[in-house]
Protein backbone atom coordinates (compact mmCIF):
# COMPACT_ATOMS: atom_id res chain seq x y z
CA UNK A 1 0.00 0.00 0.00
CA UNK A 2 2.68 2.42 1.07
CA UNK A 3 4.46 2.34 -2.27
CA UNK A 4 1.49 3.66 -4.23
CA UNK A 5 1.91 7.00 -2.47
CA UNK A 6 5.41 7.64 -3.81
CA UNK A 7 5.92 11.32 -4.49
CA UNK A 8 7.18 10.85 -8.06
CA UNK A 9 4.13 8.90 -9.18
CA UNK A 10 1.07 11.03 -8.57
CA UNK A 11 -0.93 8.17 -10.00
CA UNK A 12 -4.58 8.82 -10.64
CA UNK A 13 -6.76 6.30 -8.82
CA UNK A 14 -7.19 3.23 -10.97
CA UNK A 15 -9.58 0.48 -10.14
CA UNK A 16 -7.88 -2.63 -11.50
CA UNK A 17 -4.32 -1.56 -10.76
CA UNK A 18 -1.99 -3.83 -8.82
CA UNK A 19 0.75 -2.69 -6.47
CA UNK A 20 4.46 -2.90 -7.15
CA UNK A 21 4.72 -5.77 -4.71
CA UNK A 22 2.09 -7.96 -6.32
CA UNK A 23 3.45 -7.26 -9.78
CA UNK A 24 6.92 -8.18 -8.57
CA UNK A 25 5.65 -11.30 -6.82
CA UNK A 26 3.64 -12.50 -9.82
CA UNK A 27 6.76 -12.31 -11.94
CA UNK A 28 9.41 -13.54 -9.54
CA UNK A 29 7.72 -16.15 -7.36
CA UNK A 30 7.38 -18.90 -10.01
CA UNK A 31 11.04 -18.51 -10.90
CA UNK A 32 12.17 -18.50 -7.29
CA UNK A 33 9.99 -21.52 -6.60
CA UNK A 34 11.61 -23.41 -9.47
CA UNK A 35 15.07 -22.50 -8.22
CA UNK A 36 14.09 -23.45 -4.69
CA UNK A 37 12.80 -26.89 -5.63
CA UNK A 38 15.65 -27.73 -7.95
CA UNK A 39 18.43 -26.22 -5.84
CA UNK A 40 17.12 -26.87 -2.33
CA UNK A 41 17.12 -30.64 -2.52
CA UNK A 42 20.78 -30.99 -3.50
CA UNK A 43 21.66 -28.41 -0.89
CA UNK A 44 19.76 -30.24 1.83
CA UNK A 45 21.30 -33.52 0.78
CA UNK A 46 24.80 -32.04 0.92
CA UNK A 47 23.93 -30.74 4.37
CA UNK A 48 22.91 -34.26 5.42
CA UNK A 49 26.12 -35.74 4.02
CA UNK A 50 28.24 -33.21 5.88
CA UNK A 51 27.23 -34.68 9.26
CA UNK A 52 28.04 -38.25 8.27
CA UNK A 53 30.99 -40.39 7.48
CA UNK A 54 30.29 -42.09 4.16
CA UNK A 55 32.05 -45.35 3.38
CA UNK A 56 31.98 -47.35 0.18
CA UNK A 57 34.43 -50.12 1.05
CA UNK A 58 32.64 -53.16 2.41
CA UNK A 59 29.26 -51.82 1.30
CA UNK A 60 27.80 -48.31 1.50
CA UNK A 61 27.38 -46.96 5.00
CA UNK A 62 26.61 -43.54 6.43
CA UNK A 63 27.58 -43.07 10.07
CA UNK A 64 26.49 -39.98 12.00
CA UNK A 65 29.55 -38.17 13.24
CA UNK A 66 28.17 -34.79 14.26
CA UNK A 67 30.43 -31.84 13.64
CA UNK A 68 33.56 -33.94 13.17
CA UNK A 69 33.74 -33.14 9.43
CA UNK A 70 33.45 -29.43 10.07
CA UNK A 71 36.09 -29.33 12.80
CA UNK A 72 38.39 -31.43 10.64
CA UNK A 73 38.31 -28.71 7.99
CA UNK A 74 39.83 -26.19 10.41
CA UNK A 75 42.85 -28.35 11.12
CA UNK A 76 43.29 -29.40 7.50
CA UNK A 77 46.42 -27.79 6.06
CA UNK A 78 45.31 -28.44 2.47
CA UNK A 79 42.06 -26.54 3.10
CA UNK A 80 43.88 -23.39 4.19
CA UNK A 81 46.43 -23.51 1.37
CA UNK A 82 43.65 -24.15 -1.20
CA UNK A 83 41.66 -21.26 0.23
CA UNK A 84 44.70 -19.02 -0.13
CA UNK A 85 45.03 -20.04 -3.80
CA UNK A 86 41.34 -19.42 -4.42
CA UNK A 87 41.54 -15.93 -2.92
CA UNK A 88 44.69 -15.09 -4.86
CA UNK A 89 43.24 -16.40 -8.12
CA UNK A 90 39.96 -14.56 -7.55
CA UNK A 91 41.46 -11.20 -6.65
CA UNK A 92 43.78 -11.27 -9.64
CA UNK A 93 41.06 -12.44 -12.00
CA UNK A 94 38.62 -9.73 -10.93
CA UNK A 95 41.15 -6.90 -11.24
CA UNK A 96 42.45 -8.14 -14.60
CA UNK A 97 38.97 -8.79 -15.99
CA UNK A 98 37.66 -5.33 -15.14
CA UNK A 99 40.84 -3.60 -16.33
CA UNK A 100 40.98 -5.49 -19.64
CA UNK A 101 37.21 -5.13 -20.08
CA UNK A 102 37.40 -1.38 -19.61
CA UNK A 103 40.38 -1.15 -21.97
CA UNK A 104 38.63 -3.17 -24.68
CA UNK A 105 35.44 -1.13 -24.27
CA UNK A 106 37.35 2.14 -24.74
CA UNK A 107 39.03 0.78 -27.87
CA UNK A 108 35.71 -0.44 -29.28
CA UNK A 109 34.06 2.88 -28.53
CA UNK A 110 36.66 4.85 -30.45
CA UNK A 111 36.56 2.65 -33.56
CA UNK A 112 35.60 4.62 -36.66
CA UNK A 113 32.47 3.39 -38.42
CA UNK A 114 34.30 1.45 -41.13
CA UNK A 115 36.18 -0.60 -38.52
CA UNK A 116 33.15 -1.41 -36.45
CA UNK A 117 33.09 -5.03 -37.62
CA UNK A 118 36.12 -5.56 -35.37
CA UNK A 119 33.68 -5.64 -32.46
CA UNK A 120 32.55 -9.06 -33.66
CA UNK A 121 36.12 -10.34 -33.33
CA UNK A 122 36.93 -8.85 -29.95
CA UNK A 123 33.97 -10.57 -28.26
CA UNK A 124 34.99 -14.04 -29.46
CA UNK A 125 37.04 -15.17 -26.41
CA UNK A 126 33.93 -14.88 -24.33
CA UNK A 127 32.19 -17.39 -26.58
CA UNK A 128 34.84 -19.94 -25.58
CA UNK A 129 33.86 -22.26 -22.74
CA UNK A 130 35.93 -22.20 -19.53
CA UNK A 131 36.68 -25.78 -20.50
CA UNK A 132 37.99 -24.67 -23.91
CA UNK A 133 39.89 -21.74 -22.41
CA UNK A 134 41.64 -24.23 -20.14
CA UNK A 135 42.71 -26.27 -23.17
CA UNK A 136 43.94 -23.16 -25.00
CA UNK A 137 46.00 -21.92 -22.10
CA UNK A 138 47.50 -25.26 -21.20
CA UNK A 139 48.95 -25.73 -24.70
CA UNK A 140 49.93 -22.06 -24.91
CA UNK A 141 51.86 -22.12 -21.66
CA UNK A 142 53.39 -25.59 -21.39
CA UNK A 143 57.12 -25.76 -22.02
CA UNK A 144 56.92 -28.52 -24.63
CA UNK A 145 54.24 -26.95 -26.81
CA UNK A 146 54.01 -23.36 -25.66
CA UNK A 147 54.59 -19.89 -27.00
CA UNK A 148 57.48 -19.32 -24.59
CA UNK A 149 59.57 -22.04 -26.17
CA UNK A 150 58.58 -20.93 -29.67
CA UNK A 151 59.69 -17.35 -29.01
CA UNK A 152 62.93 -18.57 -27.42
CA UNK A 153 63.41 -20.63 -30.58
CA UNK A 154 63.25 -17.48 -32.75
CA UNK A 155 66.23 -16.13 -30.87
CA UNK A 156 68.15 -19.31 -31.55
CA UNK A 157 67.68 -20.91 -28.12
CA UNK A 158 66.75 -24.55 -27.76
CA UNK A 159 65.63 -24.27 -24.15
CA UNK A 160 62.07 -24.90 -23.07
CA UNK A 161 60.43 -21.87 -21.55
CA UNK A 162 57.61 -22.98 -19.33
CA UNK A 163 55.00 -20.35 -18.48
CA UNK A 164 53.17 -22.68 -16.11
CA UNK A 165 55.61 -22.68 -13.22
CA UNK A 166 54.67 -23.64 -9.68
CA UNK A 167 55.43 -20.13 -8.54
CA UNK A 168 53.30 -18.14 -10.99
CA UNK A 169 50.73 -20.67 -12.16
CA UNK A 170 47.94 -18.80 -10.35
CA UNK A 171 48.85 -15.55 -12.13
CA UNK A 172 48.99 -17.37 -15.44
CA UNK A 173 45.55 -18.88 -14.83
CA UNK A 174 44.17 -15.47 -13.83
CA UNK A 175 45.32 -14.06 -17.18
CA UNK A 176 43.49 -16.87 -18.96
CA UNK A 177 40.34 -16.35 -16.91
CA UNK A 178 40.43 -12.61 -17.70
CA UNK A 179 40.95 -13.42 -21.38
CA UNK A 180 37.80 -15.52 -21.24
CA UNK A 181 35.56 -13.10 -19.31
CA UNK A 182 36.75 -9.58 -20.18
CA UNK A 183 34.99 -9.26 -23.58
CA UNK A 184 31.60 -9.65 -21.93
CA UNK A 185 32.44 -6.91 -19.43
CA UNK A 186 33.66 -4.80 -22.35
CA UNK A 187 30.39 -5.18 -24.21
CA UNK A 188 28.24 -4.27 -21.23
CA UNK A 189 30.46 -1.25 -20.57
CA UNK A 190 30.29 -0.31 -24.25
CA UNK A 191 26.48 -0.49 -24.19
CA UNK A 192 26.54 1.81 -21.16
CA UNK A 193 29.02 4.19 -22.76
CA UNK A 194 26.83 4.52 -25.83
CA UNK A 195 23.91 5.66 -23.67
CA UNK A 196 26.01 8.53 -22.29
CA UNK A 197 24.77 11.62 -24.17
CA UNK A 198 27.35 13.06 -26.56
CA UNK A 199 26.61 16.59 -25.35
CA UNK A 200 28.26 15.76 -21.99
CA UNK A 201 31.52 15.36 -23.90
CA UNK A 202 30.92 18.70 -25.64
CA UNK A 203 30.38 20.31 -22.25
CA UNK A 204 33.57 18.73 -20.95
CA UNK A 205 35.40 20.23 -23.92
CA UNK A 206 33.93 23.67 -23.19
CA UNK A 207 35.09 23.29 -19.58
CA UNK A 208 38.55 22.49 -20.99
CA UNK A 209 38.79 19.24 -19.09
CA UNK A 210 41.88 17.13 -19.72
CA UNK A 211 41.45 13.70 -21.25
CA UNK A 212 41.88 12.06 -17.83
CA UNK A 213 39.36 14.40 -16.19
CA UNK A 214 36.86 13.72 -18.96
CA UNK A 215 37.31 10.00 -18.47
CA UNK A 216 36.97 10.33 -14.70
CA UNK A 217 34.00 12.72 -14.60
CA UNK A 218 32.07 11.92 -17.78
CA UNK A 219 32.89 8.39 -19.00
CA UNK A 220 33.30 6.55 -15.71
CA UNK A 221 30.30 7.57 -13.50
CA UNK A 222 27.60 5.82 -15.59
CA UNK A 223 29.77 2.70 -15.73
CA UNK A 224 30.32 2.34 -12.01
CA UNK A 225 27.25 0.26 -11.28
CA UNK A 226 28.03 -2.11 -14.16
CA UNK A 227 31.61 -2.38 -12.90
CA UNK A 228 30.30 -3.25 -9.46
CA UNK A 229 27.91 -5.89 -10.79
CA UNK A 230 30.67 -7.49 -12.85
CA UNK A 231 33.16 -7.43 -9.99
CA UNK A 232 30.60 -9.48 -8.05
CA UNK A 233 29.85 -11.81 -10.98
CA UNK A 234 33.55 -12.34 -11.70
CA UNK A 235 34.24 -12.96 -8.02
CA UNK A 236 31.56 -15.64 -7.86
CA UNK A 237 32.58 -17.25 -11.16
CA UNK A 238 36.28 -17.24 -10.27
CA UNK A 239 35.64 -18.84 -6.89
CA UNK A 240 33.36 -21.47 -8.46
CA UNK A 241 35.67 -22.21 -11.38
CA UNK A 242 36.40 -25.85 -11.73
CA UNK A 243 36.35 -26.94 -15.37
CA UNK A 244 38.81 -24.24 -16.45
CA UNK A 245 41.41 -25.25 -13.88
CA UNK A 246 40.68 -28.92 -14.41
CA UNK A 247 41.54 -28.77 -18.12
CA UNK A 248 44.31 -26.17 -17.80
CA UNK A 249 46.51 -27.58 -15.05
CA UNK A 250 44.69 -30.37 -13.17
CA UNK A 251 45.73 -28.56 -9.99
CA UNK A 252 49.40 -28.76 -10.94
CA UNK A 253 52.27 -28.38 -11.15
CA UNK A 254 52.67 -30.23 -7.89
CA UNK A 255 49.39 -28.93 -6.44
CA UNK A 256 50.39 -25.29 -6.97
CA UNK A 257 47.04 -24.50 -8.60
CA UNK A 258 44.86 -26.74 -6.44
CA UNK A 259 42.22 -24.13 -5.63
CA UNK A 260 39.40 -24.96 -3.26
CA UNK A 261 37.10 -26.38 -5.95
CA UNK A 262 39.87 -28.65 -7.17
CA UNK A 263 40.69 -29.87 -3.65
CA UNK A 264 36.96 -30.51 -3.16
CA UNK A 265 36.85 -32.50 -6.37
CA UNK A 266 39.73 -34.64 -5.17
CA UNK A 267 38.17 -35.26 -1.77
CA UNK A 268 34.71 -36.12 -3.11
CA UNK A 269 35.41 -37.76 -6.46
CA UNK A 270 38.87 -39.27 -6.05
CA UNK A 271 39.02 -40.12 -2.34
CA UNK A 272 35.21 -40.61 -2.24
CA UNK A 273 35.13 -38.96 1.19
CA UNK A 274 31.67 -37.53 0.50
CA UNK A 275 30.85 -36.36 4.03
CA UNK A 276 34.06 -34.43 4.44
CA UNK A 277 33.79 -33.00 0.91
CA UNK A 278 30.25 -31.79 1.62
CA UNK A 279 31.34 -30.11 4.86
CA UNK A 280 34.21 -28.35 3.12
CA UNK A 281 31.95 -27.24 0.27
CA UNK A 282 29.87 -25.30 2.78
CA UNK A 283 33.01 -23.41 3.74
CA UNK A 284 33.48 -22.57 0.07
CA UNK A 285 29.88 -21.38 -0.16
CA UNK A 286 30.42 -19.22 2.93
CA UNK A 287 33.56 -17.74 1.39
CA UNK A 288 31.72 -16.90 -1.84
CA UNK A 289 28.80 -15.30 -0.02
CA UNK A 290 31.17 -13.51 2.34
CA UNK A 291 33.20 -12.07 -0.52
CA UNK A 292 30.18 -10.80 -2.47
CA UNK A 293 28.64 -9.47 0.75
CA UNK A 294 31.85 -7.61 1.51
CA UNK A 295 31.92 -6.17 -2.02
CA UNK A 296 28.36 -5.00 -1.55
CA UNK A 297 29.08 -3.37 1.81
CA UNK A 298 32.24 -1.65 0.65
CA UNK A 299 31.15 -0.61 -2.82
CA UNK A 300 27.65 -1.64 -3.91
CA UNK A 301 25.73 0.25 -1.23
CA UNK A 302 27.44 3.45 -2.28
CA UNK A 303 26.51 2.86 -5.94
CA UNK A 304 22.92 1.98 -5.20
CA UNK A 305 22.27 5.16 -3.29
CA UNK A 306 23.08 7.25 -6.34
Amino acid sequence: MADTTRSDTPAPPRAAEISNLSFALIISVPVLLFLLVVVAYPLAYAFYLSFHEIRFFGGYSATWNGLANYSKVFSDQSFWSSLGRTLRFTAETVVLTLAVGLGLALILKHLPAKWRWLRALIILPWAVSPYGAGIFFTYLGRGQTGIGTAVAGWFGSDHTLNLISARFVIEYLAVGAAWNMAPLVAFFLLANMLTTPARLYDLAKIDQMSRLETFWHVTLPPLRFTLFVFSCITTVLAMKTFDYIFTATQGGPGGASAVLTYTLYKISFVNLDLGYGAAMSFFLLAVILGATGLLYLLWGRKEERQ
Binding site: S19, A24, Y45, I107, L121, A127, T195, K240
Partner: protein, 285 residues
Amino acid sequence: MTGRNTKTFWLVLAVAVALLWTFLPMYWVVKYAFMTKTEIARFPPMLYPPEPILASFFNIFGFDYTTAEGTVFKASGQARQIILGLRNSLIVAAIVTAITTLVVVPLSYVFARLQFPFKGKLLAAILLSVSLPPVSTLIPFYTLYVQLGLTGTLFGLIVVTLTITIPIVAWMLIGFFRNLPPVELLARVDGFSRLYTLTRIIVPMARSGIMVAAVIAFLFSWNEYVYAQILVTGSNAVTLPAAMSGFLFQVPEPAQLAASLLLSLLPPFCIAFFLQKHIAEMHIA
Protein backbone atom coordinates in the same frame (compact mmCIF):
# COMPACT_ATOMS: atom_id res chain seq x y z
CA MET B 1 46.63 17.39 -38.53
CA THR B 2 49.57 15.84 -36.68
CA GLY B 3 47.31 15.50 -33.63
CA ARG B 4 44.89 13.46 -35.66
CA ASN B 5 47.72 11.32 -37.03
CA THR B 6 49.11 10.44 -33.59
CA LYS B 7 45.59 9.64 -32.46
CA THR B 8 45.13 7.24 -35.36
CA PHE B 9 48.53 5.71 -34.64
CA TRP B 10 47.65 4.96 -31.01
CA LEU B 11 44.26 3.59 -32.01
CA VAL B 12 45.81 1.26 -34.60
CA LEU B 13 48.36 0.10 -32.03
CA ALA B 14 45.65 -0.50 -29.42
CA VAL B 15 43.55 -2.45 -31.92
CA ALA B 16 46.57 -4.56 -32.91
CA VAL B 17 47.31 -5.41 -29.27
CA ALA B 18 43.63 -6.22 -28.64
CA LEU B 19 43.53 -8.54 -31.67
CA LEU B 20 46.74 -10.31 -30.63
CA TRP B 21 45.40 -10.76 -27.09
CA THR B 22 42.14 -12.10 -28.53
CA PHE B 23 43.46 -14.53 -31.11
CA LEU B 24 46.84 -15.81 -29.94
CA PRO B 25 45.53 -18.33 -27.35
CA MET B 26 42.90 -19.63 -29.78
CA TYR B 27 45.25 -19.80 -32.75
CA TRP B 28 47.85 -21.71 -30.77
CA VAL B 29 45.53 -24.69 -30.32
CA VAL B 30 43.30 -24.38 -33.40
CA LYS B 31 46.36 -24.76 -35.66
CA TYR B 32 46.71 -28.34 -34.34
CA ALA B 33 43.50 -29.22 -36.18
CA PHE B 34 45.41 -28.82 -39.47
CA MET B 35 48.58 -30.63 -38.39
CA THR B 36 49.73 -34.24 -38.09
CA LYS B 37 50.82 -35.90 -34.86
CA THR B 38 54.51 -35.67 -35.76
CA GLU B 39 54.20 -31.99 -36.64
CA ILE B 40 52.53 -31.29 -33.32
CA ALA B 41 55.25 -33.14 -31.42
CA ARG B 42 58.07 -31.21 -33.19
CA PHE B 43 60.48 -29.20 -31.01
CA PRO B 44 60.59 -26.22 -30.86
CA PRO B 45 56.84 -25.93 -31.50
CA MET B 46 55.86 -24.91 -35.04
CA LEU B 47 54.17 -21.56 -35.48
CA TYR B 48 51.86 -22.68 -38.28
CA PRO B 49 50.91 -25.93 -40.02
CA PRO B 50 53.54 -26.47 -42.77
CA GLU B 51 51.08 -28.39 -44.98
CA PRO B 52 47.56 -27.90 -43.64
CA ILE B 53 45.49 -31.07 -43.82
CA LEU B 54 41.84 -31.61 -42.98
CA ALA B 55 42.22 -35.19 -41.75
CA SER B 56 41.09 -34.44 -38.19
CA PHE B 57 37.79 -33.01 -39.36
CA PHE B 58 37.02 -36.21 -41.27
CA ASN B 59 38.19 -38.37 -38.39
CA ILE B 60 35.97 -36.83 -35.72
CA PHE B 61 32.92 -37.47 -37.89
CA GLY B 62 33.89 -41.10 -38.31
CA PHE B 63 35.61 -41.12 -41.72
CA ASP B 64 39.09 -42.34 -42.59
CA TYR B 65 41.23 -39.83 -44.46
CA THR B 66 43.81 -40.82 -47.05
CA THR B 67 46.40 -38.32 -48.22
CA ALA B 68 47.73 -38.18 -51.80
CA GLU B 69 50.82 -40.07 -50.64
CA GLY B 70 48.63 -42.84 -49.31
CA THR B 71 48.95 -42.17 -45.56
CA VAL B 72 45.75 -43.16 -43.82
CA PHE B 73 44.37 -41.21 -40.83
CA LYS B 74 42.01 -43.54 -39.01
CA ALA B 75 38.49 -42.48 -38.08
CA SER B 76 38.09 -41.65 -34.41
CA GLY B 77 36.34 -44.07 -32.08
CA GLN B 78 34.62 -41.07 -30.48
CA ALA B 79 32.84 -40.07 -33.69
CA ARG B 80 29.39 -41.29 -32.62
CA GLN B 81 29.64 -39.34 -29.37
CA ILE B 82 30.76 -36.19 -31.18
CA ILE B 83 27.85 -36.29 -33.63
CA LEU B 84 25.34 -37.00 -30.85
CA GLY B 85 26.95 -34.31 -28.73
CA LEU B 86 26.62 -31.73 -31.46
CA ARG B 87 22.93 -32.48 -31.89
CA ASN B 88 22.17 -32.59 -28.16
CA SER B 89 24.11 -29.43 -27.39
CA LEU B 90 22.07 -27.56 -29.99
CA ILE B 91 18.76 -28.88 -28.62
CA VAL B 92 19.60 -28.13 -24.99
CA ALA B 93 20.99 -24.69 -25.75
CA ALA B 94 17.97 -23.69 -27.87
CA ILE B 95 15.43 -24.73 -25.23
CA VAL B 96 17.41 -23.25 -22.34
CA THR B 97 17.84 -19.96 -24.21
CA ALA B 98 14.13 -19.64 -24.95
CA ILE B 99 13.01 -20.39 -21.39
CA THR B 100 15.69 -18.26 -19.75
CA THR B 101 14.93 -15.21 -21.89
CA LEU B 102 11.17 -15.43 -21.31
CA VAL B 103 11.63 -15.71 -17.57
CA VAL B 104 14.53 -13.39 -16.93
CA VAL B 105 13.51 -10.26 -18.86
CA PRO B 106 10.46 -9.46 -16.71
CA LEU B 107 12.26 -10.64 -13.59
CA SER B 108 15.24 -8.36 -13.94
CA TYR B 109 13.07 -5.45 -15.07
CA VAL B 110 11.09 -5.75 -11.85
CA PHE B 111 14.21 -5.87 -9.72
CA ALA B 112 15.90 -3.01 -11.54
CA ARG B 113 13.05 -0.53 -11.73
CA LEU B 114 10.41 -1.10 -9.08
CA GLN B 115 10.60 -0.48 -5.37
CA PHE B 116 8.79 -3.06 -3.30
CA PRO B 117 9.09 -4.74 0.10
CA PHE B 118 11.31 -7.86 0.40
CA LYS B 119 13.26 -6.81 -2.69
CA GLY B 120 16.57 -7.22 -0.90
CA LYS B 121 15.64 -10.68 0.39
CA LEU B 122 14.40 -11.95 -2.96
CA LEU B 123 17.54 -10.63 -4.61
CA ALA B 124 19.62 -12.41 -1.98
CA ALA B 125 17.84 -15.66 -2.82
CA ILE B 126 18.88 -15.26 -6.46
CA LEU B 127 22.41 -14.42 -5.39
CA LEU B 128 22.55 -17.56 -3.27
CA SER B 129 21.68 -19.78 -6.21
CA VAL B 130 24.35 -18.05 -8.32
CA SER B 131 26.89 -18.73 -5.60
CA LEU B 132 26.39 -22.48 -5.31
CA PRO B 133 29.54 -24.14 -6.65
CA PRO B 134 28.71 -27.05 -8.98
CA VAL B 135 31.36 -29.16 -7.28
CA SER B 136 29.33 -29.22 -4.07
CA THR B 137 25.91 -29.84 -5.63
CA LEU B 138 27.11 -32.46 -8.10
CA ILE B 139 26.86 -35.51 -5.87
CA PRO B 140 23.41 -34.59 -4.50
CA PHE B 141 22.20 -33.86 -8.04
CA TYR B 142 23.57 -37.15 -9.20
CA THR B 143 21.85 -39.19 -6.48
CA LEU B 144 18.60 -37.26 -7.03
CA TYR B 145 18.76 -37.91 -10.75
CA VAL B 146 19.49 -41.60 -10.26
CA GLN B 147 16.40 -41.91 -8.08
CA LEU B 148 14.23 -40.03 -10.58
CA GLY B 149 15.72 -41.81 -13.58
CA LEU B 150 16.89 -38.51 -15.07
CA THR B 151 20.55 -39.35 -15.64
CA GLY B 152 21.37 -39.54 -19.31
CA THR B 153 18.29 -37.54 -20.34
CA LEU B 154 18.11 -34.22 -22.12
CA PHE B 155 15.25 -33.12 -19.88
CA GLY B 156 17.38 -33.58 -16.77
CA LEU B 157 20.24 -31.65 -18.30
CA ILE B 158 17.94 -28.80 -19.33
CA VAL B 159 16.60 -28.48 -15.77
CA VAL B 160 20.11 -28.34 -14.28
CA THR B 161 21.28 -25.85 -16.89
CA LEU B 162 18.33 -23.55 -16.15
CA THR B 163 19.45 -23.34 -12.54
CA ILE B 164 22.73 -21.94 -13.85
CA THR B 165 21.45 -19.58 -16.55
CA ILE B 166 18.42 -17.99 -14.88
CA PRO B 167 20.15 -16.46 -11.84
CA ILE B 168 23.26 -15.32 -13.62
CA VAL B 169 21.50 -13.78 -16.62
CA ALA B 170 19.07 -12.03 -14.26
CA TRP B 171 22.01 -10.57 -12.41
CA MET B 172 23.61 -9.24 -15.54
CA LEU B 173 20.39 -7.75 -16.93
CA ILE B 174 19.43 -5.91 -13.74
CA GLY B 175 22.35 -3.51 -14.25
CA PHE B 176 21.29 -2.95 -17.86
CA PHE B 177 17.67 -2.11 -17.02
CA ARG B 178 18.77 0.36 -14.37
CA ASN B 179 20.44 2.45 -17.05
CA LEU B 180 17.42 2.80 -19.37
CA PRO B 181 15.85 6.25 -19.26
CA PRO B 182 12.89 6.20 -16.85
CA VAL B 183 10.17 6.54 -19.46
CA GLU B 184 7.79 4.07 -17.89
CA LEU B 185 6.82 6.58 -15.23
CA LEU B 186 5.55 8.79 -18.03
CA ALA B 187 3.79 5.86 -19.62
CA ARG B 188 2.23 4.95 -16.30
CA VAL B 189 1.13 8.55 -15.73
CA ASP B 190 -0.46 8.38 -19.17
CA GLY B 191 -2.51 5.49 -17.85
CA PHE B 192 -0.89 2.49 -19.51
CA SER B 193 -1.11 -0.74 -17.55
CA ARG B 194 2.02 -2.39 -16.18
CA LEU B 195 1.97 -5.24 -18.65
CA TYR B 196 1.43 -2.87 -21.57
CA THR B 197 4.27 -0.68 -20.32
CA LEU B 198 6.55 -3.69 -20.13
CA THR B 199 5.69 -5.34 -23.43
CA ARG B 200 5.13 -2.29 -25.64
CA ILE B 201 7.55 0.28 -24.23
CA ILE B 202 10.30 -1.33 -22.17
CA VAL B 203 10.89 -4.45 -24.27
CA PRO B 204 11.33 -2.59 -27.60
CA MET B 205 13.60 -0.07 -25.87
CA ALA B 206 15.62 -2.81 -24.23
CA ARG B 207 15.77 -4.99 -27.34
CA SER B 208 19.54 -5.04 -27.44
CA GLY B 209 19.77 -5.89 -23.75
CA ILE B 210 17.36 -8.76 -24.28
CA MET B 211 19.37 -10.04 -27.23
CA VAL B 212 22.44 -9.96 -25.03
CA ALA B 213 20.58 -11.91 -22.35
CA ALA B 214 19.58 -14.56 -24.87
CA VAL B 215 23.15 -14.86 -26.12
CA ILE B 216 24.50 -15.19 -22.58
CA ALA B 217 21.98 -17.92 -21.82
CA PHE B 218 22.88 -19.74 -25.02
CA LEU B 219 26.59 -19.62 -24.27
CA PHE B 220 26.31 -20.72 -20.65
CA SER B 221 24.23 -23.66 -21.80
CA TRP B 222 26.37 -24.49 -24.83
CA ASN B 223 29.56 -24.35 -22.74
CA GLU B 224 28.33 -26.23 -19.67
CA TYR B 225 30.73 -29.05 -18.92
CA VAL B 226 30.78 -30.03 -15.24
CA TYR B 227 27.20 -31.30 -14.92
CA ALA B 228 27.21 -32.80 -18.39
CA GLN B 229 30.35 -34.76 -17.62
CA ILE B 230 28.72 -36.40 -14.58
CA LEU B 231 25.09 -36.66 -15.67
CA VAL B 232 25.13 -37.57 -19.37
CA THR B 233 28.61 -38.76 -20.45
CA GLY B 234 28.49 -41.97 -22.45
CA SER B 235 24.70 -41.85 -22.77
CA ASN B 236 22.62 -40.82 -25.78
CA ALA B 237 22.17 -37.41 -24.16
CA VAL B 238 25.89 -36.59 -24.23
CA THR B 239 26.74 -32.98 -25.07
CA LEU B 240 29.64 -31.73 -27.15
CA PRO B 241 31.98 -30.65 -24.30
CA ALA B 242 31.49 -33.98 -22.54
CA ALA B 243 32.07 -35.87 -25.80
CA MET B 244 35.22 -33.86 -26.53
CA SER B 245 36.83 -34.67 -23.21
CA GLY B 246 37.60 -38.13 -24.62
CA PHE B 247 40.33 -36.53 -26.75
CA LEU B 248 41.81 -34.78 -23.75
CA PHE B 249 42.09 -37.42 -21.08
CA GLN B 250 41.83 -41.04 -22.20
CA VAL B 251 44.12 -41.04 -25.24
CA PRO B 252 45.29 -37.47 -25.91
CA GLU B 253 44.62 -36.56 -29.55
CA PRO B 254 45.55 -32.88 -29.86
CA ALA B 255 44.63 -32.69 -33.55
CA GLN B 256 41.15 -34.17 -33.10
CA LEU B 257 40.66 -32.23 -29.88
CA ALA B 258 41.47 -29.00 -31.73
CA ALA B 259 39.16 -29.94 -34.60
CA SER B 260 36.20 -30.64 -32.31
CA LEU B 261 36.99 -27.55 -30.25
CA LEU B 262 36.90 -25.47 -33.43
CA LEU B 263 33.61 -27.14 -34.34
CA SER B 264 32.20 -26.28 -30.92
CA LEU B 265 33.23 -22.65 -31.38
CA LEU B 266 31.39 -22.11 -34.65
CA PRO B 267 27.83 -21.63 -33.35
CA PRO B 268 28.87 -19.23 -30.55
CA PHE B 269 31.01 -17.30 -33.03
CA CYS B 270 28.09 -16.88 -35.45
CA ILE B 271 25.95 -15.67 -32.57
CA ALA B 272 28.63 -13.25 -31.42
CA PHE B 273 28.59 -11.81 -34.92
CA PHE B 274 24.85 -11.10 -34.75
CA LEU B 275 25.31 -9.64 -31.29
CA GLN B 276 27.82 -7.17 -32.63
CA LYS B 277 25.41 -6.11 -35.38
CA HIS B 278 22.80 -5.53 -32.74
CA ILE B 279 25.01 -3.31 -30.65
CA ALA B 280 25.87 -1.32 -33.75
CA GLU B 281 22.15 -0.80 -34.37
CA MET B 282 21.71 0.37 -30.83
CA HIS B 283 24.29 3.03 -31.46
CA ILE B 284 22.21 4.59 -34.23
CA ALA B 285 19.14 4.64 -32.01
